[in-house]
Every structure is written in structure tokens, then in C-alpha cells.
Symmetry: C2
Subunit: 274 residues, 2 copies
DNA sequence: ATTATAATGTGTCATAAATACACAATAAAT
DNA sequence: ATTTATTGTGTATTTATGACACATTATAAT
């Protein structure tokens, strides 16, 4: 282990000890030297239920401020690994893979001074204040998750964490609202040529749920019969037993997503021109 | 003008004076304080001619090193504006809009030490060395240009600038080769659902040229008749007079891209599902 | 001048896909 | 037993795709 790596190692140990011991927002210290200055990551974790698309949003301890789970990049850490770690530390969610969708680098992207103002009221040390006051360029990462399999927990800096409807977001700090919008737009573009989004559903799902998901992302109604046929013709689903939900109607089949068949489809290619 | 802004102003003036006066690489000084630390931009400018897709690449003065036109972000400058300025300063090309496609943040992305080594041989001041030795996260920007309308000129740090075939790149520093590959992959994904790339061609072009462009990006042969019909059915082209090039064959029509019709098409939407 | 050549614009036709709508099947409520 | 809401699938029409053909056109070769 080199001298430099040892230094990093000590920094991180110190950091984790602090995080584990302290409880209140103003008690939390952290050493800015362990982080890459000026760059952050923000995670847009998207879920889906009967009501539509949801985003995972945190609330700070104390002030009435909401934000995306985000954080900083360790000096010895790849950018995409930082996103994975930050999500784990701040939201308690472990995802093996997050997809980068855009980097936000406007000078005025943090010109909402709510956070800075609130941090002042809780009297943080000068070095911490300076850290938060610097300009940050942030890279947005997105992931689609099965909400029922996801148990988010707020970190020590946060009072709560929860799912908010994509059109019912609370007041997010900085440009976090436009980061969410950009993530959803990114999805909408993707879905036009790839049957993504299946990870938003539970393992087994009905065609109606899948259609509802597509309608939520595309924001338009689709024909039921044609949707079903088109999806099944992709050949990436397995049909399972029927599913009763307790309604005065016929029971629908359950389907699951077949990763292997999906790989075959990708290799075949889905193109705009022949 | 605030005290802070005045400081920035002075920095920039000093910087430009230095750049304009000095000639040799080791004479060039710059003040790292005017830049955001740790973040850079790199431009992948893509052109197209009979031989296929080309990328704009610069060669350093002295050492046998090639790189993308890239640079740093001023402290009072938006990230996308930085890309536009850097391209202007380094390549002499003015483009009003560059498209961000990905951010590269691996710790080891600059672990090719050619540049650092070569900078040492020309004895730069310590502050400059430290600046170049820090970790950089870089955001890649891409633009498709009409090569015939583009007259690149190397800046004072560079010996030459030129177009290189996408499969005949010289040895690029750092991860610049994978940045180019990522940009081309980005294009390939885009073209699957949007008729982009028209900006790579001159104002008026033949269907054969357009088809050749598509074949270059998609790396596969397309049927001539079907390609022509599909493109014309999009309704985004205007037909003009015929064009003689001096060959033993029928003269083809010239076409131009109609921005307004294209907007209509976008509003109508081009979707994977109905 | 005539013929050959190479590339272009467009046509044809079989096949596949998309769209709009219909109808029987099913399970629970009445 | 009947009604109701919802599901799986069918059908008929329209539209798109893919492979190939053929006439057209400007130049080159003879």
C-alpha cells in the first residue's frame, strides 16, 4: 500500500467512524480532503405502481428541504462506483448498476440558497461550509427498480426517504427537479426502441400492468389487443399461471421477463432502417 | 462588477495576453485559478466524406502525441459553454451547439503518462505541473459537421489539427480513443430512431451520399431502392435540380434537409409502440 | 454514330406488420 | 341465472418491408 493510498484509507475509516457515531445533523463532520472537489453524483431512482411512476426523494433533518440521494466522489473512486456507494450510504439501497444519463454543469444550478442558508443556521465548521459553497458539477444516474423489493432507509443527515409521484414532487433543492425531468425524458427516448422498464415491475406481472407502465412513460394510451400481441411477438416473456386478484372479471396470465431471450433480441438488433 | 467577477476578468485577460504573445510550448503559462479544478471537456467533432466518418484530432507541439480538442471549464462558465469556447480556442471552429453524450470519470482514465512525461521535459512551472497531474473527470461533447464548411486551425499548443478516419486514429492520449468510440456508438443508437446526421453532409446532397453516410454509421449495407423510398417518405427533404459529377451514368437529384418539415415529424413522433 | 456501361428513379409483388375493432371466455357480483 | 367487467384472441383492412426488376440517362468505348 503506497503512502497515498494509506492516506485515503485513513480518511475513509475516519469518515465512517464519524458517520456511525454521530446522530444530529450539526454533529456530523466530514473531511473534504477525501473527496474530489467540485463534482457530485445524484441518483434518480424510479419506481412504478398503480398510480404511475415514482421517484425516490429524501428530506433533510430539520429544514423543509427535499433532494435526490446524492453525494461526492472519493479521490480513489470511479464516478460510476461513487453513484453506487452514495445510493447505498444515503438511501440504504444496493444496486449493482446505475446508468449515467447526463451531467449538469450550469454555473447557476445551485443558485437556490435554501441549503446554504440552512447549513449556516446549524453552525457547521468553516471547512465544511466552504466545501458546500463551492461550485459543483453533478452527474445524474438513473435506475429502474421494483418498488416492492426496495426498502429505502434515510441516512443520518436525513429525516425521511420516500417515493413521490413524478408529477407530485415536493420542493427539491437546486436543479434537482430538472434532473428528474431529464431522467424521465431519457427513459422516454429509450423506450422508443428498446423494451426497457421491465425492472420496474415485480418478477411476475400481467400484461395490463406492463401496458400501464408503457402508458405512464410515454404519456399516451395504447390499444390493448395490439399492445399484447406486439409485446408477446418480441419473444422475451415467459407465460406463467393465471392470477386472481378478486374482481368481477376473467383472471389474467402472469408473465416474467426472460433475460436470455432479451439478449438474443438485442443481438438481432432493433433498427429504424433495414 | 463584483470583486469576484473582477478577479475572474483579470485572470482571463492575463491568460489571453499570454496565449497571444507566446509561441513555443514551454513559453505558454496559464493561471490554474481561473478554471474549475478537476473537470474538463473533450469534443468529438465528426465529419464525413467519400472515405467514411472522420474525427478531428490535434497533434501536440513537440512530442508525438495526439488528442481530442479539449480543455478546462472557467469558474464563471456553464459546462456546455466551456465546450463551445474550448473548441473555438483550440480548433478555431465556431459551433453554436455541441451535444453532451457522456461523462468519463474512471480514476485510471489518465493513467497513460505520456503527456505528464512530456510536459516534464519542457520544464513547466510547478503550479502548471500540479494542475495537469490532478485527477480530471471529463465530459464528452459531440457534433456532426460538414467538413467542407469547416476550416480547423491548431492553437499555439498544437502543431497540427486534422481529420482522421474513425478506424485509422493515431495514438490518442489517455482514454480519448474510447471517448471517440463512445461518441460513435451514441450516434449509432440515435440514428436507429431519428434521422440525424444530415448536418454531416453539405447543404445539397444526393441520396447515394446519404445512404453512404447511414451505412458508415450503422456499419452495414442497405438496399438502395428501399432506402430512397423510406427516406423520401419521411417527408423531410426538398428535391432540387440534378447534379452532374462527370461519370458514365445518369445524374442524380440533389436533396436538401428541411428543418421545418423535420420539426413536424418530431412533433408527430416516431415510436416503437403505437 | 452506335453500342456498352454504370448508376439512377421508380415499379412490382410477395410477405410481414400495424391498426381498429369484434367476440367469445371467465370469474365475481347481483 | 343473469349481469358486468375484463381478458385472450381473432379478423379484416391498411400500411410497411424487402428483394428484385426495369426503364432511364449521361458518359465512355468502339
Amino acid at each position: 500500500m503506497t503512502h497515498y493510498n494509506f492516506y485515503i484509507f485513513v480518511c475513509r475509516i475516519r469518515y465512517f467512524c464519524l458517520v456511525l457515531k454521530k446522530k444530529s445533523l450539526s454533529d456530523i463532520r466530514f473531511d473534504p480532503n477525501q473527496f474530489v472537489p467540485g463534482h457530485s453524483v445524484d441518483c434518480v431512482i424510479i419506481g412504478f405502481d398503480r398510480e404511475g411512476l415514482k421517484v425516490l426523494v429524501m428530506k433533510w433533518k430539520g429544514p423543509e428541504m427535499f433532494c435526490l440521494p446524492g453525494g461526492f466522489v472519493l479521490v480513489d473512486e470511479d464516478l460510476d462506483k461513487a453513484a453506487i456507494r452514495v445510493l447505498k450510504e444515503r438511501a440504504g439501497i444496493e444496486l449493482p448498476f446505475l446508468e449515467q444519463f447526463s451531467t449538469f454543469g450550469r454555473v447557476d444550478r445551485r443558485d437556490d440558497f435554501t441549503l446554504a442558508h440552512n447549513l449556516k443556521t446549524i453552525k457547521l465548521p468553516e471547512s465544511t461550509m466552504q466545501w458546500f459553497e463551492q461550485r459543483f458539477i453533478t452527474t445524474g444516474f438513473v435506475s429502474l427498480v421494483d418498488m416492492s423489493k426496495c426498502d429505502p432507509n434515510p441516512d443520518l443527515m436525513s429525516e425521511s426517504i420516500g417515493w413521490y409521484g413524478i408529477d407530485e414532487l415536493p420542493n427539491l433543492i437546486f436543479d434537482h427537479r430538472s434532473i428528474v425531468k431529464a431522467a424521465v425524458q431519457y427513459l422516454r427516448n429509450q423506450i422508443n426502441y428498446l423494451p426497457i422498464g421491465i425492472t420496474l415491475l415485480p418478477e411476475k406481472f400481467t400484461m395490463k400492468e406492463l401496458q400501464h407502465l408503457y402508458e405512464s412513460i410515454l404519456e399516451k394510451k395504447l390499444d390493448r389487443g395490439n399492445f399484447q400481441r406486439k409485446m408477446l411477438k418480441l419473444g422475451i416473456f415467459n407465460r406463467h399461471e393465471k392470477h386472481w386478484e378478486g374482481g368481477a372479471h376473467k383472471a389474467p396470465y402472469l408473465y416474467s421477463f426472460d433475460t436470455e431471450k432479451y439478449q438474443n433480441l438485442l443481438e438481432k438488433g432493433i433498427g429504424f432502417v433495414s
